[in-house]
């Protein structure tokens, strides 16, 4: 058993693991058909190698700095593994003046062990204000949301570039993605009344093409185009995204029919009912993330770096010995071997 452990603890195996990790990382980043998950193999080799070294190599354990560095690395691997298994990453667009709807979340990545609690996540979207510099360069983002803390206290915060909100363990971060939304009232011939919003393409990324298709509750496909009476964004001067008080026109186009235009409050007759342009709002896209061990991952990484620094101090900084003694030469010889 000890013989096997010693073989597994080999420094040559460490080098094999490191080379394999580097090679697979490069391949995974360059080829779309190779998942980054392949790096698990060399990482597993390195973890086994390190555990075996900790068990069998007494001189390794005796060097505190080196030991702390490697234990820190081991913890980094453990926390990365837990993060991969428990994490959740998704995106959601939330309409100004409405509450977050878990059903609208688009999952990007979800760990096998993640206990999805998005249904219990509640926050309300308030005003959005994003300042731009000339050249369409985003300067700062302020997206106001309201939510209740664990103690029931109502909290109102403007999240944005460097500020996020943490609700029920989920991290809510504003993304660069946002746009306008048309609040429409559907009055069906069957007497149904539905109020809903159609999110227009991201703004200002698609300020030249504020067009989208929408299927009415009666099943008819309609093309909606949002047209502002004056330019909303500017490439040459500073401007702010978030104002919805400007005049606008909605062009409604149906295949085989002449296009119609709607102003705020006006209606258009369609198959099976009519739509009315109720209001203009903005939508804001968020990253909804759950990474429970992230702070611990940071602590483990800093522990490893601290160990590395301690090892450097022991190995390379000259020992404090009286000048002219043999010990000084011994110390230099020791440093040279390190």
């Amino acid at each position: 058993m000890m013989s096997l452990l010693r073989k597994l603890a080999s420094l040559r195996l460490t080098l094999v693991g490191m080379i394999l990790l580097a090679v697979l990382a490069v391949i995974a980043s360059r080829r779309a058909d190779v998942d980054a998950g392949v790096t698990v193999v060399p990482l597993a080799i390195l973890v086994i190698n390190l555990l075996a070294a900790l068990l069998t190599n007494r001189s390794f354990r005796a060097q505190t700095g080196l030991l702390v560095f490697h234990v820190g690395l081991l913890l980094v691997f453990v926390f990365i593994g837990l993060t991969v298994l428990l994490r959740f990453d998704g995106h959601a667009e939330v309409l100004q003046g409405t509450a977050f709807d878990a059903a609208q979340v688009e999952t990007v990545d979800q760990g096998r062990w993640h206990d999805n609690r998005l249904d219990g996540l509640e926050f309300y979207q308030g005003e959005v204000r994003i300042n731009y510099l000339p050249g369409l360069n985003r300067q700062d983002t302020h997206s106001t949301i309201e939510y209740r803390t664990g103690s029931g206290e109502l909290r109102r915060v403007a999240i944005g570039d460097t500020r996020t909100a943490s609700i029920d363990g989920y991290r809510i971060a504003a993304t660069f993605n946002k746009g306008f939304a048309l609040l429409l009232q559907w009055s069906g011939d069957d007497g149904s009344e539905i109020l809903g919003a159609v999110h227009m393409p991201s703004f200002p990324e698609f300020d030249w093409k504020q067009v989208t298709t929408w299927t009415t509750p009666a099943g008819q496909e309609v093309e909606l185009e949002l047209d502002f009476d004056r330019p909303v964004s500017s490439d040459t001067s500073a401007w702010t995204f978030g104002d919805t008080s400007m005049a606008y026109t909605v062009h409604v186009a149906v295949a085989g029919d002449a296009p119609r235009t709607l102003q705020k409050g006006e209606s258009a007759r369609l198959e099976g009912g009519a739509i009315r342009a109720v209001d203009l709002r903005v939508w804001m896209a968020y990253q909804i993330e759950y990474v429970p061990f992230l702070p611990w991952l940071f602590v483990a990484a800093m522990l490893a770096i601290g160990g590395l620094a301690a090892h450097f101090a022991r190995r390379y900084l000259p020992a404090t010995v009286p000048a002219g003694t043999d010990k000084k030469e011994d110390a230099l010889a020791h440093v040279a071997r390190a």
Binding site: S29, R30, L133, D161, F176, A301
Partner: protein, 273 residues
């Protein structure tokens, strides 16, 4: 400070680096120490570049973090500062400027041909971790350059036996110790850069690690640095030359990661609309 004056200062720095390179070559040809005149020239380079950076910072209202011009300018400054400090405090690696000076000259000439138009720093990028990430990165590159350049001189000494070259590192044992000490500290700085970069990336665009080309090649560099230290522990009878050659290979990868990958890859380090 006007852009014209900034450009003139950069040009002066490049001319000074050309002078430093010539002084280094002359030192080898005439078999004399070029340390003092080189240190004087480097001090002038640092002063001139500091003025150019300060002027640009005031004019643009942000630090040199984003564009290729910013990266080249700030790294030229930090590399010159670190080489000056390292050679002043560690006499064993003073020979590093023989190879470092032409490299800095190349960076300087490259800088003169790059567009100096600034890109506003997105608000999400601007936090304290950006500073930790950038400063530890510059420390890594500067210390690693000093170690690698001094190691390259020793490689040259091994390949071309010459009394004049031998004079560049009169005490090889001391030089060897200092080279590896610098290499080790650069590894620590690289580790800090990697961790701070992950924290910053998580804050800036919600991903602490996303296997983009820059992150991947930074990890490869880190593995190379750690691997070289492991090789040195594993193969006790490893020749000095092989250790130095490996160091040179790691620096080449680090250099390409710093100055190549960020400007050939996708948006993260340039900001999104």
């Amino acid at each position: 400070m006007s852009l014209v004056l900034e450009r003139q200062l950069v040009l002066v720095a490049v001319l000074l680096l050309a002078a430093a390179t010539l002084v280094q070559v002359a030192g080898v040809v005439f078999g004399r120490s070029a340390y003092r005149p080189t240190a004087g020239i480097y001090t002038a380079v640092v002063a001139v570049l500091a003025a150019a950076i300060a002027g640009r910072w005031v004019r643009e209202g942000q630090g040199p973090f984003l564009t290729l011009y910013d990266i080249l300018l700030s790294n030229l400054f930090s590399l010159a500062v670190l080489l000056l400090l390292v050679t002043a405090s560690l006499p064993g690696v003073r020979s590093a400027t023989l190879f470092a000076s032409p490299l800095l000259l190349v960076l300087g000439v490259w800088l003169t041909g790059v567009s100096e138009i600034a890109t506003p720093l997105p608000g999400a990028f601007d936090n304290a971790w950006l500073w930790v990430h950038v400063l530890s990165g510059k420390l890594f590159l500067g210390l690693n350059l000093a170690a690698t350049a001094a190691a390259s001189v020793m490689l040259l000494q091994g390949a071309v036996p010459s009394r004049r070259l031998a004079a560049l590192a009169a005490q090889p044992q001391e030089t060897e110790q200092q080279i590896w000490a610098l290499f080790f500290v650069s590894f620590i700085c690289h580790s800090v850069m990697l961790v701070a970069g992950a924290v910053w990336a998580h804050s800036a665009w919600g991903r602490y690690w996303s296997w983009d080309p820059l992150e991947t090649w930074t990890l490869v560099t880190w593995l190379m640095l750690g691997g070289i230290l492991h090789v040195r522990s594993t193969f006790r009878n490893l020749s000095q030359g092989v250790g130095h050659a490996l160091m040179l290979a790691a620096f080449a990868v680090a250099f390409l990661t710093f100055f190549g990958v960020p400007f050939l890859s996708i948006a993260p380090h340039k900001g999104l609309m």
